[in-house]
Symmetry: C2
Subunit: 122 residues, 2 copies
DNA sequence: CTCATATTTCGAGAATAATGGAAATATGGA
DNA sequence: TCCATATTTCCATTATTCTCGAAATATGAG
């Protein structure tokens, strides 16, 4: 993860509408969502949506594939993981004041994610 | 962490110069760095620096205090931690594809941070 | 081939952000 | 008080981004 691509990702996500798109795509999982469905779900014009999808794709945060008449967009998990890793490790130097609290977040999150089987009985 | 403040932080960091400022302040630690020193270190005009410091401060990512003639800026660790937590937990729903690799980052990072004593001999 | 659906591309206007020079403010020292 | 240092504020210019209507492209069905 280079600093420049991190800046691109951050500024892509630093926009209300685009953050909403990305969140929707993460929730939808790897199967993705068609552009038209996104537009309806978020109530945005198809052309602004297209522009924002393009920005997210150019930043590497989402991928697209055509399926019949629709174009399906999906979140790029690796890219997001890379961005978070960059922020923790490179940007923040692994400062414990920043990173330590995240251990708790990870503990809370691992075991309740959409595709994650619980390892210990709750 | 509300979504709006996350957007503000992301767009504040989604700028070359501001990301560089923030990284410098994280490296510097809680004692912070005077504005003039930042300007010299990053070779930017004092007035653009001031504008960018203002944007970072308004996003909650940095704090400032006056010390004599200088104004000392320092990274707000809690804010950054909150942003990362929001991205993992709320934005990404704790998707294991995104969050699991971060366990390794945390493991690598805890034990080599600037203010962190090693727990096991290297 | 024609038509309907899905999405993108084009283009113009408005809004916002970035840049840098010059002046203003705040502090400390002589 | 006067001066030097440190930083911010003000202002104008340029550049970028956002928004939305309209037209263009791509696909599949009849």
């Amino acid at each position: 993860m280079e600093s420049m691509s991190a800046v691109n990702m951050l500024s892509a996500l630093g926009h209300d509408g685009r953050l909403a798109i990305f969140r929707l795509l993460v929730k939808a999982g790897p199967q993705g969502v068609a552009a038209g469905q996104i537009a309806r779900a978020l109530d945005v014009l198809p052309n602004s949506l297209s522009a924002n999808l393009n920005i997210l794709a150019h930043a590497g945060l989402i991928a697209s594939r055509r399926e019949g008449r629709s174009i399906i967009y999906s979140a790029d998990y690796g890219a997001m993981s890379g961005l978070l890793g960059f922020l923790m490790e490179d940007c923040c130097n692994g400062a414990p004041e920043i990173c330590s609290p995240l251990t708790a977040v990870l503990a809370r999150v691992e075991g309740c994610g959409p595709a994650c089987a619980p390892k210990a009985p709750a």
